[in-house]
Structures are given as C-alpha cells and as structure tokens.
Symmetry: none
Subunit: 416 residues, 2 copies
C-alpha cells in the first residue's frame, strides 16, 4: 500500500467569499478523491487577489502532494490563478496552441465572435499537461512543481467535473501510482422512508466499519452509501458485496438500483427491454415527466410525446376530456386522471399512457387541498389504474414528488 497522498482543494472566487454561491466543487472533488484513497486535509477559498493567492499557494506547496484549484482561470483580468501560481513556482506562463485551437473551435461551433481576451484562457504554466474540456471552452491543466502536483480547473461545476472524469483523475492516479482503493457503492431504495430503513438496518449501520454504511435521504427515495477500504480492489468489492447481500435480505423489496441508476433510468431500461412506448398527459407536472424521459439519449425509441393540459380548456379541446367529467368531478379527480391516461394513450398510439393531475399550490383548488395528486396509468387492454397521493412541500417539491411517484409506479408495474 502506497503512502497516503496528501491532498487539498483551493477554490478561487470572490463570489464564494461573499456567500453568493456555496463551494459545492470542494464537496464533489473530496468525495471523488476519497474514493481513490487520496486524503483531503484542507479546503480553502481565496479571493481573486494576487498577494493572497500567492501566499496561499506557497503554503499549500509546502504541505500537500496534490493541490486541486478550481476557478480564477477565466478570460477576464480579475482571473489571477495562473499568474499567482506561476510566480510561486518561478515558472513562465506560455500560450498553448492546442488549448487555443480548442477555444477557437468552440467559438466556431457556436458561431460566436471570439474576443481577444479569450486568448488568455489558452495560457498555461510551462511544463503543464492539458486536461481536455469536453463540455466547455477552456481546458484545464496539470503541472508538477517540486514534490507537488498542481491541477488547475475552471470553477464552473460541470466543466470541472467533466475534465476530472475524462482526463484528470486518470492523470492523478497514474502520477501517484495509487493502488490503495476505497470502493464505494450507493444502494438505491424507493417506497420506504429513511427512518424505516435505518430502523430495519440499525445493527448493521452501527456495527459495520468496513464497509461503512451511511443512509442518505433525498426527495422521494433513500440511498445507502457503502464505502470499503482495502489494498486490493477485489477485496474492497467483495466486502461491499457481502454487506449488500445482508442489506438486501432485509429490505431488498425496496431496492431498485445502484450508483448512477435513477428510478427514471430503470424505467427507461424496462421500457426498452419490453419494447414498450409511453406518452403522458400532464397537468400540475406541466411537462416535467416527459422532460425527464426525453433527457435520456435514445428516448425517441420509447417516448411518443405528451400533452400538457394545464388549463381545463386544453383538457377538453386537446385531450378530449368530456366536459361532464370536468363539471361533475373536477380536473383534480380520479375520473379526470383516468380519462387523461386513456386518451393520451390512444391519441399518441403508445403502449402505455400516464397522467398527472393535482393541486401544486400555493392555494387549494376545487376544494382539494394543496398536495393532492392523482396519477393514472393505462397499459392498453388492461384496466387503467388511478392512485391518489398527498405530497408535502412547496409547489416545486409537490410537482417533483408527483413525477418521481409516477416513475415509481411505472417501475413496479413493469417489473411485475
């Protein structure tokens, strides 16, 4: 087992020090480094100030093997990360042709005019290695100086993450020939509450040390993060698998996936496997269910589309909901959800139709209290089903939970 790599993360940006944004980059990078057996000993946030940046970098160079810096690489004059680091290292800043080319092609692709100061982002510290940026304009770069490896990244989270995931982490692992692994796996559960899950697993959660078992709740579902340490990857994995078996023996019925799985992605898989198409009639969810589906690549083979019948007018004119239903039972009713599910299935000629109607708030409607939601599902020939739910939270949370519950219902329906 190699000696533990001592790492730290520095975020550069006045907006962080003013509290305009939270340093979520440090959290994400810390998790990723922990999974690779790198110890993170400091997070620091410094403003775009040459002197303060230099004194921080000096100190970091003395205490850390790996320094990851996010932010301060932009095109404007108040982006000083490069300048400060180069001074501390006693190295030159050089223009990198490959970096410039990728910036120019970015502008070409976007038919935008490149302004002179964008060239600034093609400047790296001499001896630096480019880390390509798939999703943004300017690449990151890594520089070895003395005993310290410096990794420079943009502050925009999605660019920072993409660069590390594509090139950055590989480079870091290779550089430090990391062979001690921390393996981590997230087990995902739906249909069971966090406290119930913790209650059912209390002895395991308290007793386990390798892997550790950490419950994590998020709107509408629960996760368990298993984290195992070992010199050998296989050992770490088998430790996790053993714990996973014990957990599933108790609460397996609520388990739906791991890690990057989402209840949405599992439903997409099941639809693909069974070669089923889907469409949705949405009222309070306002198109968010279909948006969730379309966000997946290859959605076109599964999703016909949907109708957002937010107004009763649209429910009647576009979805052909009988005015009788709206007058007798109202738009927020089992009858309306049922009719919406059946009609969307037929109109879009899909195998499955799902409907959402309810009260997102802030005020009650049709005498139904805020959070009342009807979800209908129609799988052709079968009897359509409609379920009524009462969700807590604000308007956005109620709409979010409605969509999530829709996927949960579809998941259990398609599995059986």
């Amino acid at each position: 087992m190699t000696q533990l790599v001592k790492g730290e993360i520095i975020a550069v940006g006045t907006e962080l020090l003013l509290g305009q944004i939270v340093n979520s980059n440090a959290q994400w990078v810390s998790q990723e480094l922990a999974n690779r057996g790198v110890g993170v000993f400091y997070h620091t946030v410094v403003g775009d100030n040459l002197n303060r940046l230099q004194s921080q970098f000096k100190e970091s160079a003395e205490r850390s093997d790996l320094v990851i810096i996010t932010g301060g690489l932009g095109p404007t004059d108040d982006d000083l990360t490069r300048e400060a680091a180069a001074k501390v290292m006693g190295k030159e800043i050089v223009q990198d042709d490959e970096a410039l080319a990728s910036i120019e092609s970015y502008y070409a692709r976007n038919n935008q005019q490149m302004t002179p100061n964008n060239k600034r982002q093609a400047r790296i510290i001499e001896g630096g290695v480019l880390l390509s940026n798939r999703v943004g304009m300017a690449p990151g770069f890594a520089v070895q100086d003395g005993d310290t490896l410096w990794v420079f990244l943009p502050g925009v989270p999605r660019e920072m993450k993409a660069i590390l995931q594509d090139d950055g982490f590989k480079y870091i692992e290779k550089h430090f020939s990391i062979n001690q692994t921390i393996k981590s796996r997230m087990l995902r559960f739906i249909g069971i509450g966090e406290s119930q899950l913790e209650h059912d697993l209390k002895d395991l959660i308290d007793g386990q040390t390798n892997p550790t078992i950490a419950p994590l709740a998020s709107a509408g579902e629960v996760g368990l993060r298993l984290t195992a340490r070992a010199d050998d990857e296989q050992v770490a994995v088998s430790l996790i698998e053993k714990a996973e078996r014990e957990i599933k023996e108790r609460v397996g019925e609520y388990f739906y996936g791991t890690d990057d799985d989402s209840i949405q992605s599992k439903v997409m898989e099941l639809l693909k496997e069974n070669n089923l198409s889907i469409s949705a009639a949405e009222s309070l969810t306002g198109g968010r269910f279909v948006d969730n589906i379309v966000s997946f690549e290859g959605a076109s083979s599964i999703c016909k589309g949907g109708i957002v019948a937010y107004s009763n007018e649209a429910k009647e004119n576009v979805l052909d909901i009988p005015s009788l239903v709206l007058e007798e039972y109202g738009a927020v009713s089992e009858a309306c959800a049922l009719s919406m599910a059946v009609n969307i299935t037929e109109k879009l000629r899909s195998d499955i139709g799902i409907s959402f109607t309810g009260v997102a708030g802030p005020t009650a409607s049709e005498g139904k209290e805020v959070g009342t939601v009807y979800i209908g599902i129609y799988v052709d020939d079968n009897q359509p089903i409609v379920k009524c739910f009462h969700f807590n939270g604000d308007r956005d949370m109620i709409r979010h939970r409605s969509v999530k519950k829709g996927f949960e219902l579809l998941y259990y329906l398609l599995k059986s």
Copy 2:
C-alpha cells in the same frame, strides 16, 4: 468610514473533507458579514487534528481581525477546536458555570439523561464571553486575543445561525464599532457573452473600486455583481445606482433585470401585464419550456398548456404537421418549427405559440449536426418568426440553452 474589518471563517470537521456535507455554514456567515461591512477573505476547512488546527489558527491570528470557527466543540474526544485555540493563545480552558447550567437545563427540558462527557461542552477559553444557544445544548463563545476576536460556534447550522442572530452579530458589531454597510446588486444580461461584456466595460471594471464590478457567467446569460461600501446605506445605494447608469449606457440593450429576477420571471411579468396567454409545441425540449412556466405560481392565468411532439408520429397526429413538411424539409427545419408554432397557437387558442425542434444529440439527425435548434414564435395575426441556432454542450445543455433562448426571444418580443 471605519477601516474594513478583515474576517475569515474556519469550519472544523472531517465530514466536510470527506465530502459528506457541503460547507453551507461558510456561505451563510459570509452573506451576513458582508451585509455588516465585514470583509471575508478566507474560508478554510480543517479536520479534527490538533496540529493542523493549531497551525491554521496561528496563521489566522496573524492575518485576520475576526475569526469565526464552526464545529469541533462537541462532547467527544475528537472535538479539539477549544484545545487547539487555547494552545495558540496560551490561555487556559475553564469550566463555565453558566454554560454548564444551560446544558443541564437543556437535558432537563428534553427529559434526557446527561452523560458525563456533555460537561466538556461547558468548557470555554478563559476570558471568553458566552453566546447563548436558544435552539441547542451548548452555547458558543467569543474570546479576544491580541488584535483578533475569535468566535466559537457549533457546526450544526440551525444552532450556529441562532447563536449569531441572537447574540453573536450584536457582539461583533459592538466590538468593532461597525457603522459601515456593504450593499450589493446583481445586474443580469442576456444575449451577450461574458467576454464581450467584459470587453465593452473593461475600463469601468478595472477602474471601479467602489462599487466593485465583477462579471459572473452562467449558461445562456451573464451577471455583473456591483458591491459598494459606505458608512451610510443611502450612500452605498447611490454609488451602486451611479455605476448601474454608466453600465446601462454601454450595454443597456442586453440588461433584463436585477438580483432575484430571471429571464423566465420577466417573461411571466410581461405576459401578465399584457394579459397574453401562451402555449408551446416542443420536440427536443420535451416539455421543459412549459415546465418552466408552470413552475411559477399563478401560471394558470397565462399558460394554456402544450404538446410535446417528440416523435414525428406525434407531430403529424397530434400537432397536425403536414406530412409533406416532414418529408420535404424534415422535423428539424424552419418549415416544421413554423408549422408547430402556428398549430399549437390555434389548437390551444392561446395568444402566443412557441415551438422548439432540433438535434439534442448525441448523434446527428436528418443530416443536421448536434446542437442545431429551430425556435418558432407565432403571435396571432403577425407573421410567425423562426430562428435557427447552434448550441454547444451535451444533450442536457443543448436542451437547457434552447429553452433559455426561447425565453430570451419572447422577452425582447414582448418588450417591443
């Protein structure tokens, strides 16, 4: 104008360094200090390690007038904040009777058994002043040492906030006889890139010190954060307003709002003001445009709904797009976007119809490259308009930018 108080925030806790939680405490405290005219120059996260804590505290004592520390005050042996700080100050740790009393009463109130180690939390650094904790067990405390004021707070956000709001901020303001305010305003622009904006305002951004002007980019728009310092709030506000006028003289055409405004909220306002209803025909955006609208309270008075015609089948059967258009020009074409916009307006009987069709990727379609997007807008009687765009980024970013661009087009249309 009093001299600026130099402050910094130190969070103590291994869970932060492991990325299990994000340092939201630092964000909140930073906002509160900024509003009180205290400059925050560093955020630091350190683990529960005596040596690292001491070296961090030594450095903070040298550079800051005010050091706010959150976490590491708990009852267990690995809570070392007190010990490290006392060593650095060369002061004793003493048991505080008032603190002990409040801890005991906390247990009494909650009918819980107080364990011996809870007494540890009644220990403060000699000369320290208690800061009462309304919502939790252990109070915080403040200690003056040399030129530095140290404020020790629990890491639990609601306890930390309550202590500062009740006693902490008052104590800090009194200690530094603060009578200065920092006022901050975000100016929001759309339709201009960050570097173009910075290029047009370079002399202002470089020359300005009060207020400072900081560009901030986010997907599809740019912000300028103006931050002014003054002894008097009115002076700070007028400084900001003066700078705002100068900025608008140059790039006012791209300005759409301030602070909490979003291009979506501005479009909602304009639709309400003009008493106009809207509907959308969405292909690649998959319902996300309407979802954006419905996320606003009172959307029902504005949004009729929409049709997500993701498949060509749906475009033909539900949106009545002529098969000729799809065969001759394809789904990703000006003709299709135009026909989608007109048909949705008529079907949903709305005043305005907007359409989105394009290639979200990952692969090209109909010979159109990834990122090609047509947006159509039809305001009845007027000639429908269709514009073609090329967006960069992954599938999600292309869909996000399409929706944002749709709101941008509507904003300028409704303003004129």
